[in-house]
Amino acid sequence: MSDFQPILTEHIHQKECHTLSFYKSVGGYSALEKVLAMSADDVIELVKASNLRGRGGAGFPAGVKWSFIPQDGEKPKYLINNADESEPGTFKDRLLINKTPHQILEGMIVASYAIGCNTAFIYIRGEFFKEYQLLEKVVAEAYEENLLGKGILGSDYDLDVVIHRGAGAYICGEETGLIESLEGKRGWPRIKPPFPAIEGYLKCPTVVNNVETLSNLPHIINRGPEWFKSIGPEKGPGPKLFCVSGNVNRPGVFEEPMGIPLKDLIFDLAGGIKDGNELKAVFPGGSSSAILTAEEALSVNMDFDSLAEINTMLGSAGVIVMDEKVDMVQACLNIARFYAHESCGQCTPCREGTAWLSKILSRIASGDGNSNDIDMILEITDNIGGLIDFSKGSFGKTICPFGEAVAWPVRSFVEKFENDFRQYISQEESVA
């Protein structure tokens, strides 16, 4: 077992840990008091210095994102808390919302203060209905205690928080798709530029941060950036919630320092592979990340840069573990179908390509594959999402990263487990 003392989830096993009184009893909202005495610029600099990187998937430095907000404009600025957790294999934000909602809210107020925003939103996944109800209560509590509203804690800073429920589209987790949806439109990602920091919600400067990213803020304020950087690799440090699911004995959310070996996560924390089976493959960061072979999984560390080095990503840290019994063709088909179903349909390559992939894969799975299919799948994935070579930059071919999100896993399945696919095809060919 790990000896790491959890930070974000330290109190989640306590009774009533979601209440304001409990949160305050463990030092909650002390960071807010500190922040209100600081200048907004100082808060941004402090967060920049901590090297906190976004926990939603892209891993963009949070402080840098904030600093893109123009400070002199006349338009109002907005903060959106992205609680549309919908990446398959990811369930960390739900835990944070259920157990530590005030920690999230405090983070939101800190971030809002830093970017000079007076209205912040929580965009919560439609399926999280209980969590939505809880957040409504939490926000009401915060208003009562003057943690929200006019003149927060006696300062001259005002902030309102509005909770908005999504309607169940995966793509609304993409920040510009989310903004469109929040505006009441179809959740179609916007072409960039302009980036949300310049023209986001209602064409006003907007920052979209993930639930977990925001949850880190109170701790960074309280304990300082140097402390934060001391946890895990310096370039992408901090505590991290890893969601482990699939064929393991003890699936769950584990808070560990960035950079923990994936092997430890699977075999130590999650109790190893079920039924004593052999490990076959792992998604390190949700179903959008390129899949790892057992060999790769046993040697990689779970942080942004280590995973990027082997052409996959930390993503949302949704670790999906597959053992030797998993049929890779069926698993790949499952992934492809999911993405074909969730593609918003705006961009040509993604709309047509995802459906094409899933048609080919389902043909292979039903035994009608032919030997050209493998190469064709690889070409199609390249045409949707571009090459998976981080050193050359990601060759994105669509408005949002959804194209890559389907291309990378599918390509990695076929590339790394080609024999599994060939078996399906050769069976058929030998029958014929």
Partner: protein, 530 residues
């Protein structure tokens, strides 16, 4: 100004425009579907990708802006941006996008109305692959009516969403939307609000493929059989620029022609389908004389002589009725009659509409009201009382045409006349009251200039041949004037009349058909009669 290099062309362009705009303005072709200059950019078709030096990914040129680079970031020490549109990478990427677009396309060009002017067809030929790798079942959906005159062939749709954006940003009516998601997408109209606004027809023009079709044109002809005549719409005083597509003596289609000083990119459906109302009317194709209650055909010589004699006998007790439906040249020629009063019938007005995008349909439904006032000698404000006071019994009317309905007052005025000459192309109410009818030309047969409500003079060009013995209206008047012996006019074509008009009205000085060209000239603020 930033210095841009696209392939081998060095271009100085305005800061802030896109690579696609810079290329298009300089005659460099970058294929695209979803981008339309009148609509907000969505960048979704991915066809307009280009390679830009210093950028790792291919970029969509519709959303890549050209700006000044700092001195140390200039490429080759002078270029602010270097763009390649013909590299292998770009060519391959176009092939890829086209492959995706054609996966589920029915490839039914032989029966598709868009064939010949289809960007999917053109780009596929130019940039695509000759064969498909797609072995799966195609997506097949039935066609649907989006409005009473607009049909969508869902199978041909490439989801560029130009039509949806049009109804949101141009007409502001918002009838269209994308239904379902991803691969199952479908362009639909709201159940209780079909696509029936007065700009609806434009979606068939901006659709880059054969998905959106007008029921008015569907399966009627092939585009390569049709002649395309640039002209001007005559259904309101905006003077939208149009292309008239015709074959022999029949018009098949009218579509907008881009002119940023008049209509922009679009036209309304009144003008688009307006040509049909001239198709079924009873034409007058020969001069006619009223004997008792019957109209009988007579020869031109005789008709002109009778008219000339009656006008001469009336001395100055004549009213010449000008028409805002006729060209400047015809109205100007009417002014060559030296004795008499000049008047016009009341305006034909309906409700004008201005759309959120600024596109407007003028309530004044005559094409040349401004021009008529410019080139006719002082038109009487209150023609009716003048007729009574002066006891006028002779009238020479340029007929407004089929759109004119006579009110009771005018019916009574005409009843009082001893001699009425009507120059018309049809047996309209006005023509029915005539003693002599001189057959002129219908709207799509006329040539001349018209001046729109903004003071822009435009060249009205004919698309249909003359019918029967009909003659150009300005020429008829010239012959009557000459026969009366007052003057000896000898213009051989509209251009000469226009030149003469320029001598009399300084605003029109120097205006020639050649100078008007396709887009016209503004004479705003210059009008005063000599």
């Amino acid at each position: 100004m930033p210095l841009l290099k696209i392939d081998n062309a060095e271009l100085e362009v305005e800061s802030g425009i896109t690579v696609l705009q810079a290329a298009t303005a300089n005659g460099i072709e970058i294929p695209h579907y979803c981008y339309h200059p009148a609509l907000e950019t969505v960048g979704s078709c991915r066809m307009c990708i280009v390679q830009i030096e210093g950028m790792p990914k291919l970029q969509v040129s519709c959303n890549t802006f050209v700006g000044e680079a700092p001195p140390d970031k200039k490429i080759d020490e002078k270029y602010d941006m270097v763009v390649h549109t013909q590299t292998e990478l770009v060519k391959q990427e176009r092939k890829n996008v086209l492959e995706f677009l054609l996966l589920n396309h029915p490839l039914d060009c032989p029966v598709c109305d868009q064939a010949g002017e289809c960007f999917l067809q053109d780009y596929a030929f130019k940039f695509g692959n000759a064969h498909s790798r797609f072995e799966e079942e195609k997506r097949v959906r039935p066609s649907e009516y989006l409005g009473s005159q607009i049909v969508i062939n869902q199978n041909r749709c490439i989801m560029c969403t130009r039509c949806v954006r049009f109804t949101r940003q141009i007409s502001g009516t918002g009838e269209l939307f994308v239904q379902k998601r991803g691969y199952d997408f479908k362009i639909s109209a709201l159940e209780d609000q079909p696509l029936d606004n007065l700009l609806a027809g434009n979606v068939t023009d901006i659709c880059p493929v054969g998905a959106l079709l007008s029921t008015d044109y569907i399966h009627k002809n092939r585009i390569w059989n049709l002649h395309e005549q640039p002209s001007v719409c005559q259904d309101c005083s905006v003077g939208c620029n149009i292309n008239v597509f015709y074959q022999k003596d029949r018009i098949f289609r009218v579509s907008p022609r881009e002119n940023h000083d008049a209509n922009g990119y679009f036209i309304c459906d009144i003008g688009r389908y307006g040509f049909h109302r001239f198709e079924e009317i009873e034409r007058v194709t020969s001069p006619m004389r009223r004997d008792e209650d019957e109209l009988t055909e007579i020869q031109w010589d005789e008709a002109i002589k009778v008219v000339a004699k009656n006008l001469s006998d009336a001395k100055e007790k004549i009213v010449f009725v000008a028409s805002p439906f006729h060209t400047n040249e015809t109205n100007f020629m009417l002014g060559r009659f030296q004795k008499g009063f000049f008047g016009a019938l009341p305006l034909i007005e309906e409700e004008g509409i201005t759309y959120p995008s600024g596109f407007c349909i003028n309530g004044d439904r005559s094409p040349n009201h401004r021009g008529m006032n410019d080139v006719c000698p002082s038109i009487l404000e209150d023609m009716a009382s003048e007729i009574d006071q002066q006891n006028i019994k002779v009238m020479y009317i340029l007929d407004d045409g089929v759109d004119r309905e006579l009110d009771q007052e005018w019916k009574e005025i005409l009843m009082k006349m001893d001699f009425v000459v009507v120059q018309s192309y049809a047996l309209t109410e006005v023509a029915e009251s005539a003693h002599i009818i001189l057959p002129g030309l219908a709207p799509f047969e006329r040539e001349g200039t018209v001046t729109n409500d903004q003071g822009r003079v435009q060249w009205l060009r004919p698309s249909l041949p003359l019918k029967g013995k009909a003659r150009p209206d300005w020429r008829i008047i010239m012959e009557v004037v000459n026969t009366m012996g007052q003057q000896e006019l000898s213009y051989s074509d509209v251009g000469e009349v226009l030149a003469e008009m320029g001598k009399c009205f300084p605003a029109y000085k120097g205006v020639s058909l050649f100078r008007l060209g396709d887009y016209g000239l503004s004479i705003n603020g210059k009008v005063e009669s000599s």
